[in-house]
């Protein structure tokens, strides 16, 4: 059981501040690091894995600093986003080399064990450059797991992996989390994080925007001014009715839809069904039209 702690960590490159005063702590279980592209996830990951010194603040694993401390890699397994350039090695040779670098007492057994965990025993004698993207990801994970680390850090592990392999990887990570390992993965896709992580950390523009249970944050996210797209059997009538509601700020017609800006989602959502029934309107579609992470979290940051 290990805990990775960032204490007021910042990182800047010249005048570009990639990570801005982030404090968080990642413990056992699966944690998702969520944020739009360019939010500083990779920089955060690099600091947590000891590949970048924080410009200010501290990054520690169980109290030990991570930067320039090669000993922490006994407890950390890292799956970088970078491609493997060891195309001339077979999957087994690559994993075995990782085991040897850790000076494991029985490197051969550890290699076979971990190849089995990621379900790559059969293709392991093929060269890496013949692998598909999903297979390469699994071999990377195997290499990171070979020394049985208590912390597993994965940078964008699902990028470019097709849906079937994605499911497979997710199952694997969930199992690792259930075993009590600290599993942290970064992603810019809400659905991915939703399906895998209970606990999330959100970064937007280098700032720590939200942290905690996924469900709780999702509820916080709905409690904000939102934009809705509504399609009904009579949009103009519905527009008039909605405009009379206090919870609605603006309504406009766009093609076959109504764009509705809602200030108070709770009372809007409660009043809409009754209103529609009263005037015999069929609501064909009702969907938040602005669910992007950026806009959701920009709101959280601005608060």
């Amino acid at each position: 059981m290990s805990t990775l702690v960032l204490d007021s960590a910042s990182r800047w490159f010249g005048n570009v501040v990639a990570v801005n005063d982030v404090s968080l702590s990642v413990g056992p279980g699966v944690t998702g690091l969520l944020g739009p592209n360019g939010a500083g996830k990779t920089t955060l990951m690099a600091m947590m894995s000891g590949f970048l010194a924080p410009s200010s603040g501290h990054v520690t694993l169980d109290g030990q600093p991570v930067w320039r401390n090669t000993d922490v890699y006994r407890r950390i397994g890292l799956v970088p986003e970078r491609e493997l350039s060891f195309g001339y090695l077979t999957g087994r040779q690559f994993v075995r080399a990782n085991a040897d670098l850790h000076r494991l007492p029985d490197a051969a057994a550890a290699t076979e064990r971990v190849l089995e965990v990621v379900d790559m025993v059969e293709p392991a004698q093929r060269r890496l450059d013949t692998y598909s993207k999903g297979m390469r990801q699994r071999v990377k994970i195997a290499a990171a797991l070979v020394h049985d680390p208590s912390v597993l850090l994965l940078d964008e592990p699902f990028n470019g992996v097709d849906p079937r392999q994605r499911m497979h990887l997710m199952d694997l990570l969930r199992r690792l989390g259930d075993q009590g390992r600290t599993v942290l993965f970064s992603s810019h896709i809400l659905e991915e994080v939703e399906r895998l992580a209970r606990h999330i950390e959100v970064v937007v523009s280098g700032r720590h925007a939200a942290s905690g249970d996924f469900g709780a944050i999702r509820r916080l996210m709905t409690d904000r001014p939102v934009q809705y797209a509504v399609q009904s059997s009579d949009n103009r009538t519905l527009a008039t009715l909605l405009m009379a509601q206090e919870s609605v700020r603006a309504v406009s017609l766009r093609g076959e839809h109504l764009d509705v800006q809602v200030d108070d989602l709770g009372s809007f959502a409660v009043s809409l069904p009754g209103l529609a029934r009263q005037h015999d309107l069929t609501v064909f579609e009702l969907s938040p039209s602005d669910e992007s992470l950026e806009s959701v979290f920009a709101y959280l940051v601005a608060r």
């Binding site: 739009p36 097709d162 509820r219 409660v270 009754g274 009702l286 969907s287 950026e294």
Partner: protein
């Protein structure tokens, strides 16, 4: 109106790998989606249509030109945004798009003016003077799109334009694709492995699986075929389950999906257009639940494969 692309029995085999098998389709104006899992033959089809690859068999024509004789003429009239990275990192988007416009035959001043315009349309502003190596994925995709539009083509091939984008950028890109097809008046063939996102922007969808044509039909047909609904109410699992149980009592088949309730296509007695919607509306009103989502379930590619697999078997 003449079809933009027609293919007849188009086949491409690499040794034992069958990338495309006997493909016969027609693509018209507007936005056409080309869907398939990785390796379904989407990129191969585009490369054949561009004349970069020779088909093993069959015929195709693009904008009235046969791909075998008219390759050069076709490449003059179309734009291509490849799936993979193709931007030199040390050049600015502005310089690059101007150069690419000139490579399509525009004069130097026309190329400059059009590059500036197109970069504005795709949404690259101040950053267009910076080297592209420092771009985010979203900016790179925009630059790739800009070079495909620079010479005002009559047809663009967009290969996985939303790859690697986060949801905000994905929405922007899709809206842009939609505009290219409607406002710009350029025919679009856009590929993706997500059927859901192509539904939003395309008029017509072609589904490929393992090099075979699985289906080619207007987008509306896909939506109608799915028929499932997703409903979400304000609150926690308790509220979700109250809604689900109430709907189930009224004859709908419901199952929880995350914070939402997924409702299967309604039974015959509720098949009238809007009947299920009204039922949901009424149940929510009766229970005093806040209705915050009611939308058709976005079909996924896997669903289409599932359905078609049954009919083909």
């Amino acid at each position: 109106m003449l079809p933009v692309i027609t293919t007849a029995g188009l086949t491409k085999h690499y040794g034992t790998v069958h990338a495309l098998t006997d493909l016969t389709v027609e693509v018209g104006a507007g936005v056409t989606g080309l869907v398939g899992a990785n390796g379904a033959g989407k990129s191969t089809l585009i490369k054949i249509l561009l004349g970069l690859l020779e088909p093993t068999g069959g015929h195709a024509s693009v904008l009235g030109h046969d791909i075998e004789q008219g390759g050069q003429e076709i490449r003059r009239l179309v734009g291509y945004m490849p799936e993979h990275d193709c931007l030199p990192p040390d050049v600015s988007a502005s310089d690059f798009v101007v150069h690419m416009a000139r490579m399509s035959g525009l004069g130097s001043s026309a190329a400059r003016e059009r590059a500036a315009d197109v970069l504005r349309h795709v949404g690259l502003d101040e950053e267009r003077y910076r080297p592209m190596g420092g771009y985010s994925t979203g900016m790179k995709q925009r630059a790739k799109l800009a070079q495909a539009l620079a010479h005002d083509p009559q047809l663009v091939f967009l290969d996985e334009p939303t790859n690697g984008l986060d949801p905000a950028a994905r929405t922007d890109m899709l809206r842009l694709v939609e505009r290219i097809g409607s406002d710009f008046g350029i025919a679009v063939l856009v590929t993706s492995h997500l059927l859901g996102e192509l539904e939003q922007v395309s008029d017509h969808v072609i589904v490929l699986d393992g090099g075979h044509l699985l289906r080619s039909s207007a987008t509306g047909d896909f939506l109608r075929r799915t028929g499932s609904l997703l409903v979400e109410v304000v609150g926690t699992e308790t509220e979700r389950d109250r809604l689900g149980e109430a709907l189930a009592r009224r004859g709908l088949t419901c199952r929880p999906r995350g914070p939402m309730v997924s409702i299967d296509p309604p039974p015959p007695e509720l098949a009238r257009e809007g009947a299920a919607h009204d039922l949901i509306r009424d149940v929510a009103a009766d229970l005093g639940l806040g209705l915050m989502r009611l939308q058709p379930d976005r079909g996924h590619l896997e669903d289409v494969f599932l359905q078609e697999g049954v009919t083909r078997a």
